[in-house]
């Protein structure tokens, strides 16, 4: 196992793991960055969503060896003080219920807004369709994305 260099939230990290290990488990178990969640391990729920060079990806489906040269952003890197417009909107709309899916929801929404500053309902559906919320907070998620877009995320 050769060490792998990672750039996460602008800080360099070095890990020694099997190169096939999904990024999700490197974050959670090796680096103790537990904001990124495990929900299904199969790319079906979106709880593990992070950004790779700004694109939303499912970290449970991303081998750590494939991200060594990329810029990784996790929920912990979105802001240090809940000041990201999406975080503010999430609080204003009181989105989280149990909260478990929310880091993944917010990361998917952030990637959407970075590309599409004023998304339509349909664009929200297609960008967010991979993120399950078992607590069913979907209309709040939709409202919060519109709110953040209105405030120029």
């Amino acid at each position: 196992m050769a060490p792998i260099q990672l750039l996460i939230n602008n800080s360099p990290h070095e890990v020694e793991v099997d190169p096939d290990t999904p990024l999700l488990w490197v974050l959670r178990d090796k680096l103790n960055m537990t904001g990124t969640k495990y929900g299904c391990g199969m790319g079906l729920c979106g709880a593990c969503t992070v950004h790779l060079d700004g694109q939303a990806v499912r970290s449970c489906q991303t081998a750590v060896s494939s991200v060594a040269s990329k810029k990784i952003t996790t929920i912990e890197g979105l802001s240090v003080d809940n000041s990201h417009p999406l975080q503010k909107a999430w609080i204003a709309e009181q989105v989280p219920q149990c909260g478990y899916c929310q880091p993944g929801q917010i990361m998917s929404a952030a990637a959407l807004l970075a590309k599409t500053s004023r998304p339509s309902d349909q664009q929200i559906d297609s960008a967010m369709g991979g993120n399950l919320c078992r607590c069913g907070m979907y209309q709040r998620i939709r409202r919060a994305i519109h709110r953040a877009a209105g405030e120029g995320a």
Binding site: M1, V17, D18, T21, P22, W25, R28, D29, K30, M33, T34, G35, T36, K37, Y38, G39, C40, G41, M42, L44, C45, A47, T74, I75, E76, L78, S79, N82, L86, Q87, W90, I91, Q94, V95, P96, Q97, C98, G99, Y100, C101, Q102, P103, I106, I124, D125, S126, M128, G129, N131, L132, C133, R134, C135, G136, M137, Y138, Q139, R140, I141, R142
Partner: protein, 729 residues
């Protein structure tokens, strides 16, 4: 002074430590300032929670209630702050350590948290305020009635004097507590917090990844474990070969744990312990196991469905029998019959089951996302041969509960593993484990029979329920119907001849309460069948229901679950008004309604749908809610939205099926809850009410599916009687 069940007991606390008031949430009202003597009184202290007023005037409420997203911590802080008359932000709610020697009632479920806590907490809060006023009045030597408390300050306006709670707390802690039954409470018009939307305190940590769920527990030296369980219920490993698994990098240990008996109901299996979750999962994949598939290896949903249908056509145990449903009907009567069928369902909480246990010499520490920390404690203590007090349980945040996290199976497995491992070990259930070894909502079949006369009035209502009884499985043979007939027994419509019967059908699929328990199917059967009767009578479904929700002048509830017909009619009317019930809809669209009472709350929901061939879309849902006195309307709304989507996932998509004794669905591909593009807009309307607070975690669920089914009927003429829905063209 001894602790009596009726009186306050007053003790001075250690000087300078502030004021400590114990309270209980059920049974006779009791408050006490804690004392050394009370602490020593014996193993069982009668308090469920403590209020600690600190010398700086801040207040902690120390209570064992699990936060599953229902906003319980916010609600409790609001109630306390309201009556104690302090700023909401001055109150912090702390999760109590699990110590049944101190806290007796620790479960969180049955939508009960606000219901049980409301009055005791108000009285306790008011007692704090009263003590502060008394302390101030004594200090200034003025009559109490001239003093006023507001925002943690007592004022005597006449002499322009004031003192903060912090300044008064020492004196207050030496005073006798007022009688909790007599302490003056605010009246509703004085409420600044109760009934006002208040942002939840748990939310900020849930938008930045810092909120700590069970799976997020990280302790030094910890290892991770997964268990390979037999796919069939009651099966066990015959032989296993771990050589390949041991070769997986990071795998440390592999051993077998036995299945545990019925009160815990674990599958047993082969444990893989590793340095990381991923290594443990890879190790498990590499195991070679021959299973003895056990006694239930031939169970299937197809066969079970037939058994349920057969049982539903036979008489069962009589639960309710008004008049005589076998009475001869006039020849002009129209008869209606329907059979409703319900599959098994998984809870599928977003965070899969998990728990972290550290067994040390003579003690253990547990970090658990659980709805019943005291059961976790007893279970772990038993399996580690420790006295309960030697097991500390930290309750983490829960990534969903829905009834599943009441159970002690995953704690039991983790204790078995921790005993061998000797280090802190996190037991992780993969999504597949979670879905294939859940405790499932019972499968059920309901047969309904009814008739209406020529004038459009119902003559009889006969309801036969059969299900894979929760009571039968968990071992109370005299109470097979206990978690199966609620809501059907209290069928609220005034009909002269009513009968309800119940029979259980055996199944090896372990059943459990699922969100809203039996109301999830009884609400469907009752609210769809009343719609079928309305259609047979040629009458409007709202007007038909209204006419049957009659509250006699001398009405009294028959039991605590008996709904007040007037409150049910109140929400029915509100939902009808808000959806615009009488406005015509274009062809292909339909409107349906359902109104239902459960967990002390009354909820009517109206649905609008568009049907195109075999497809349909829910255009919107209107919910009208009477849940008594509302503490935080924001939480009421959120929980209603949540329960509706949860119910619709079951109505539209989800079903657990059994084949060759095993669950066929293993992840969100086979059991896919509603996603954002399928979620209808939901509009929630809350009725003003002074009644006692009802629950809100569950009661919005039961009316959702029948409202949609009734709307689909209105749009297409098709009655959907089996869940999940499937339309014919």
């Amino acid at each position: 002074m001894a602790i009596s069940r009726r009186n306050f007991v007053v003790r001075s606390t250690v000087a300078g430590a502030g004021l400590l008031v114990g309270l209980r949430f059920s049974g006779p009202m009791l408050l006490s300032q804690e004392s050394e003597k009370a602490k020593k009184k014996g193993p069982v202290n009668p308090f469920d929670a403590y209020i600690h007023v600190h010398p700086d005037g801040n207040i902690s409420l120390i209570v064992a209630k699990s936060e599953m997203g229902q906003g319980i911590k916010t609600g409790l802080a609001m109630i306390l702050a309201e009556e104690a008359d302090v700023d909401f932000n001055a109150v912090s709610v702390e999760q109590a350590e699990t110590r049944p020697d101190i806290y007796e009632h620790m479960g969180t479920g049955g939508s009960g948290s606000t219901m049980e806590n409301f009055m005791p907490l108000r009285r306790a809060g008011a007692s704090v305020r009263e003590l502060m006023i008394t302390a101030a009045a004594q200090k200034w030597n003025v009559p109490k009635t001239e003093c006023e408390a507001k925002q943690a300050i007592v004022r005597h306006t006449k002499s322009s004097r004031h003192a903060t709670y912090g300044e008064l707390v020492d004196a207050a802690s030496k005073l006798p507590l007022p009688d909790p039954e007599k302490v003056p409470l605010k009246n509703e018009s004085q409420f600044d917090l109760i009934g006002h939307a208040t942002p939840r305190v748990d939310i900020p940590s849930k938008v930045n990844g810092s909120a700590g769920f069970g799976l997020d527990v990280r302790v030094p030296e910890m290892v991770f474990a997964v268990v390979a369980r037999c796919p069939t219920f009651g099966g066990k490993p015959l032989h296993f070969d771990a050589s390949k698994a041991k070769a997986v990098p990071g795998v440390r240990d592999i051993f077998e744990i036995p299945a545990l008996g019925k009160d815990m109901y674990t599958a047993g299996g082969i444990v893989v312990v590793a340095d990381s979750t991923w290594a443990a999962m890879k190790g498990r994949e590499a195991l070679q196991i021959d299973w003895d598939r056990g006694p239930a290896a031939s169970e299937s949903s197809a066969i079970l469905r037939q058994s349920l249908r057969t049982a539903a056509s036979k008489p069962g145990k009589r639960i309710r029998n008004d008049g005589n449903v076998d009475e001869a009907l006039p020849s002009s009567a129209k008869r209606v019959e329907a059979v409703y069928e319900f599959p098994h369902l998984a809870h599928a909480t977003m965070e899969p089951m998990n728990i972290t246990v550290h067994a040390r010499a003579g003690e253990a520490e547990v970090w658990a996302p659980t709805q019943s920390p005291d059961w976790v404690q007893r279970t772990v203590a038993k399996l580690l041969d420790l006295p309960s007090q030697k097991v500390i349980v930290h309750t983490t945040l829960l990534g969903g509960g829905f009834g599943r996290r009441y159970m002690a199976d995953y704690p039991a497995e983790a204790a078995q593993i921790a005993k061998v491992v000797g280090k802190p070990v996190q037991l992780v259930w993969s999504r597949e484990d979670d879905m294939t070894h859940d405790f499932y909502r019972p499968a059920a079949c309901h047969r309904m029979r009814g008739a209406v006369n020529q004038a459009g009035h119902p003559l009889l209502w006969s309801h036969t329920i059969t299900s894979t009884s929760i009571g039968a499985f968990w071992g109370s043979p005299d109470k097979l119907e206990e978690s199966e007939v609620g809501g059907a027994k209290q069928m609220p419509y005034t009909i002269r001849n009513v009968r309800l019967e119940y029979s259980a059908v055996p199944s090896s699929v372990p059943p459990l309460w699922w969100r809203s328990v039996e109301h999830s199917f009884n609400g469907f059967a009752v609210e769809c069948f009343i719609d079928e009767l309305a259609a047979a009578a040629g009458r409007d479904p709202v007007e038909f229901r209204r006419g049957l929700l009659v509250k006699p002048a001398n009405w009294k509830p028959k039991d605590e679950d008996d709904p007040d017909p007037a409150r049910l009619r109140g929400v029915l009317d509100l939902a009808a008004e808000k959806v615009g019930w009488s406005k015509p809809l274009p062809k292909g669209k339909g409107r349906g309604i359902a109104s239902y009472h459960s967990f002390g709350s009354y909820i009517a929901e109206a649905a609008e749908v568009t049907v195109t061939g075999k497809d349909f879309k829910i255009d919107r849902i209107i919910a009208a809610i009477d849940c008594g006195q509302v503490v935080n309307p924001e939480s009421v709304r959120a929980q209603a939205e949540s329960a509706i989507i949860y119910g619709l996932s079951a109505a539209l998509k989800n079903e657990i099926t059994i084949k060759d004794g095993a669950v066929e669905q293993s992840n969100f591909d086979g059991y896919d809850p509603i996603r954002i593009d399928e979620a209808p807009p939901i509009e929630v309307h809350i009725l003003k009410s002074k009644e006692d607070p009802g629950g809100m975690g569950e009661p919005a669920l039961p009316p959702a599916a029948p409202a949609v089914a009734n709307a689909i009927f209105a749009a297409s003429g098709q009655r959907l009687r089996r869940l999940p829905f499937q339309l014919k063209t």
